[in-house]
Symmetry: C2
Subunit: 259 residues, 2 copies
């Protein structure tokens, strides 16, 4: 039915073609084989969390082009015709971070009609957990700058990225309660103090030291190393590492990691 229709050479035709889409709306399934109509553009945006001494951080880029030129925004970009949205998110993150070894999870798909002032863009949002110590960030092709920001004190963001970040923070706080995500954010060897501080930053409330240590150690996913902090002006803490094998065994067994 629409197989001979050409797609719009420019955005000014979109309004015209909308009537064609309206026809399409009456059918509840994709039409056979050759179907051609104005489509939303598909992008990904990534809420990248990290943590350092100051607390929970978020990676933002400073846009090099309009719209929102010079403003800060989430890293992201187009989804190619032959890649999944997961692949697109990883590809974009590799630009800014130089690595693909990143914990990534789909967050939500944002589709407000006016979320991009230029044209219709639907964005699949992801959230990522990285160890800032493991990577040195660098501006990708379309960004002037990349920086870590305090996750609770962000600058004004372009598009609807403020909403996306809010959903990301909420999801992180929800997830941390029953999955030990902290391990994606901390260095290989860490102290229980660091781990607890991380949880307090994510949950936004203080936790009891003794109870925290007990419940975490009880899970059995921490390996106590025969190694200690050095050079700190207080009693050195024992170092721990995350036992991923044991963690996966417990996940399979249906174990609950509630904090």
């Amino acid at each position: 039915m629409l197989s001979e229709t050409r797609a719009p050479p420019g955005a000014f035709l979109i309004a015209l073609l909308t009537c064609v889409v309206r026809l399409g709306e009456r059918t509840s399934e994709p039409m056979p084989y050759t179907y051609d109509h104005p489509r939303p553009t598909l992008t990904v945006d990534c809420v990248v969390f990290g943590v350092d001494e100051e607390g929970l951080k978020l990676l933002l880029i400073q846009r090099g082009h309009d719209p929102f030129k010079d403003q800060w925004a989430l890293p992201g970009g187009f989804v190619g015709i032959d890649e999944t949205t997961d692949d697109a998110a990883l590809r974009e993150l590799e630009e800014e971070t130089g690595t693909r070894d990143i914990y990534l999870e789909q967050l939500y798909t944002f589709s407000a009609v006016d979320r991009d002032p230029r044209q219709r863009v639907v964005s699949v949002a992801y959230y990522a957990l990285v160890k800032p110590s493991d990577l040195r960030v660098q501006a990708g092709s379309d960004a002037q700058d990349v920086r870590w920001f305090n996750a609770r004190q962000l600058p004004q963001l372009g598009f609807d990225h403020k909403d996306i970040v809010a959903v990301g923070l909420e999801r992180l706080a929800g997830k941390v309660r029953y999955v030990p995500v902290g391990f994606e954010l901390l260095p290989k060897k860490f102290t229980l103090g660091q781990l607890q501080a991380l949880y307090e930053h994510i949950l936004g409330r203080p936790l009891d030291k003794r109870n925290f240590r007990r419940s975490f150690l009880k899970m059995g996913v921490l390996d106590a190393l025969e190694e200690y902090q050095t050079g700190v002006a207080h009693r050195p803490s024992q170092l721990f590492s995350f036992n991923r094998r044991e963690y996966q065994r417990l996940v399979k067994a249906g174990f609950s990691f509630e904090i």
Copy 2:
């Protein structure tokens, strides 16, 4: 840069245009204003849950066209250029159910490159909770038939809809544990027996009657009516209704509805 390129008149050009997209991939943000490249088609698919005497049900349509003609699949369809994915999902559901008064929540976005045999299609999946008693389903324009199926005994499904259903079932089971979703699935007045049976169907395991009643009543979101079942061959059950106002008050207060 690509503003003069025409979109593919047919699927056979997609491979050719892929190289153009590859160029696009190097930029991490949408290009200015007039940007034209082969885009994934965007659809929605809905996992519609209902419940009746037999247990948890799922609404499926029988496809009227290829691909997967005559096979059962999830209701769904294209996302128009001027509607959100939420709107698209509601619009599609209205076709099959005749109402927009449906509890709907975004589930996940599926983007495997080969999930549709015709062309690249990315689908935003939703799950819906409806009261089958409130609506009479009817086949939409592209469907030969619509029917409720036992959610645990589904026929073979087209596309990757089996995966989508699996994610939907998992999410429902997760959600029911801390949100009283049951109210979206039951009639206005219901018995605690019905409510418990619903939970058992969703969770896939039996629950203790006394404990279930106690913990649900303790939440304070059920109004006991001065009304009883009639015409049953056993002691009539008291009827209850859901107090949505109180529920929302408790949600705001951060109350936990764990079962």
